[in-house]
């Protein structure tokens, strides 16, 4: 029985999911070298079509909600697997802090741990980058908030394709006393680089004057840049972008302003394009970077937020914006809804979900093991 050439073995290994690859590291020294080679890891992450939903479930009835995290696989023809409970590295029974997922990228999740929500001024923010598929994580070094007026952090996570680096951007802001939202005052912007494993202040700070309050939406990551919808007290809504490789901010106009104060508005990425969900309308930026290319795509039967396209691109996975957070598929052509069979409403708890695409062997070598 002849030995297969290394080139063929590599082509087979690329097709394997993460778990057997971890096992096969001990087959032989040459297999270990193959599997842990950074180029192999990169190609594997790119070809791996594993997709999962990360569902955060918490019961908002209590003051200090316990949180559960679940991983639900749906790589196989968009059929949902059983929700598997997972334990982020911060997770401790009886832990009263609140955690939230601030971004997912290439199989990595970044989680922010806040201090308890009622304790304004609590600067106890911690971050961890986690690979739930290989159960390894990396805690970010603690970076104190510069000014005690700066009460809130808005943080987001993404991949810099030019420098092959994963970065966390944090915007430290003062809360505008009259509102509950992210109305910002003076800000400080910092970035963490996984390669450097350290934080530093970004040279190009936010392009807004101090004392001008504004509200940021949740960010959407696309083409190596973060994007936010920005609502300012003086002026129309704009699109703010932060390019990870150059670490520069940019502002773009939005040619339509359908935003009525009562509408739920969110910025998302769907099928490789930026989309704005404004109430039941969905707008898409057809050409990235071209302000005039925004056009109305659909009108949905209800307000919701989207997660991801199905494998065949004909349906979109969405979450219904109501108390019983059910997930459903919206068929674009037929304009029909189909509630997800394997009911992901794990209980009546409040849920948010993010789509984790690709399983990566990243953090294999230097991550800490989850316990």
């Amino acid at each position: 029985m002849s030995i297969l050439a290394e080139e063929l073995i590599t082509q087979i290994l690329i097709l394997l999911p993460v778990k057997p690859l971890l096992r096969f590291q001990c087959v032989s020294k040459s297999w270990l070298a193959l599997i842990t080679d950074p180029y192999f890891i990169k190609i594997h992450a790119e070809t791996n079509t594993q997709r999962s939903l990360v569902v955060e479930s918490c019961d908002w009835k209590d003051d200090h909600p316990p949180q559960d995290y679940y991983l639900v696989d749906f790589s196989n023809g968009d059929r949902f697997g059983k929700p598997v409970k997972i334990f982020p590295p911060f997770f401790r029974p009886g832990n009263l802090s609140h955690t939230s997922v601030i971004g997912c990228c290439n199989g990595l999740i970044c989680i922010q741990k806040h201090g308890c929500l009622d304790c304004i001024g609590d600067s106890d923010y911690e971050f961890v980058i986690w690979n739930p598929l290989i159960k390894k994580h990396k805690k970010l070094p603690f970076e104190p908030v510069d000014d005690t007026h700066k009460l809130r952090l808005h943080a987001t996570f993404g991949y810099d394709p030019v420098n092959d680096d994963y970065k966390v951007l944090r915007i430290e802001c003062g809360q505008f006393l009259n509102s509950d939202d992210w109305a910002l005052e003076a800000v400080e912007v910092k970035v963490y680089s996984l390669k450097a494993h350290s934080w530093r202040r970004v040279e190009d700070q936010l392009p807004y004057k101090e004392e001008e309050s504004f509200i940021l939406s949740e960010s959407a990551f696309l083409n190596g840049a973060f994007h936010w919808l920005v609502e300012r007290e003086s002026g129309p809504w704009t699109l703010l972008a932060f390019d990870l490789p150059t670490e520069k901010f940019g502002v773009q106009t939005i040619p339509f302003q359908p935003f009525d104060v009562n509408l739920k508005v969110s910025l998302e990425v769907l099928g490789g394009s930026l989309c704005i969900f404004a109430g039941t309308d969905v707008w898409i930026m057809k050409e990235y970077g071209v302000a005039n290319s925004w056009s109305r795509l659909w009108t949905l039967p209800m307000t919701s937020c989207s997660l991801v396209f199905s494998e065949d691109g004909e349906k979109v996975l969405m979450k219904k914006d109501s108390l019983k957070k059910k997930f459903f598929w919206y068929d674009i052509k037929k304009k029909t809804l189909m509630i997800v069979e394997n009911d992901l409403s794990i209980s009546n708890k409040h849920q948010t979900a993010t789509c984790l695409e690709g399983g990566s062997l990243l953090l294999l070598l230097d991550g800490d093991s989850d316990n």
Partner: protein, 153 residues
């Protein structure tokens, strides 16, 4: 050289001296053979010392099926699924032949089939299947197992 492709015959000889004659359209499903034909080296019998008769017959059968216009999509799918229902020795022989002859569609299918077959296996089984020597010390191997204990369940 004006004879139309469909009339030309390509002759192949396997490692165990079996000869096969196939139409050029069938043979050129293999990039390797296609290059030989294009370079004008396919006029005599082409020796294939690293592919045995049984495997070569299988590969040519695959190629024939894929140029046959009377075969429907469903029939082809069934054919491909049944085709790969082989024992390990044949599967690996087929893998190496598909790689050497560079028959793209076949190679992708076989690679996926092999991947599916090995993904649940233990390292010891992998070593047996691929005839690989374990060059770790027991301590080294144990360290890797401990690091990733959950993956060994």
């Amino acid at each position: 050289m004006s004879s139309s492709k469909s009339n030309k015959i390509v002759k192949l000889e396997s490692s165990d001296n079996k000869t096969f004659e196939v139409e050029e359209a069938v043979a050129v499903q293999s990039e390797t053979l296609k290059n030989m034909v294009d370079d004008g080296c396919a006029n005599d019998t082409i020796p294939l010392p690293n592919v045995n008769g049984k495997i070569l017959e299988m590969v040519l059968g695959w190629c024939k099926k894929h140029v046959d216009e009377t075969v429907t999509g469903d029939e082809l799918n069934k054919y491909e699924a049944d085709f790969l229902d082989l024992d390990q020795a044949d599967l690996y022989g087929l893998l190496m032949a598909a790689n050497f002859l560079n028959v793209k569609g076949l190679l992708d299918r076989v690679l996926q089939r092999v991947a599916d077959m090995i993904k649940g296996k233990k390292p010891e089984e992998i070593r047996r299947i691929f005839n690989i020597k374990n060059d770790f010390t027991p301590e080294e191997e144990e360290e890797i197992r401990l690091e990733n204990a959950w993956a060994f369940d």
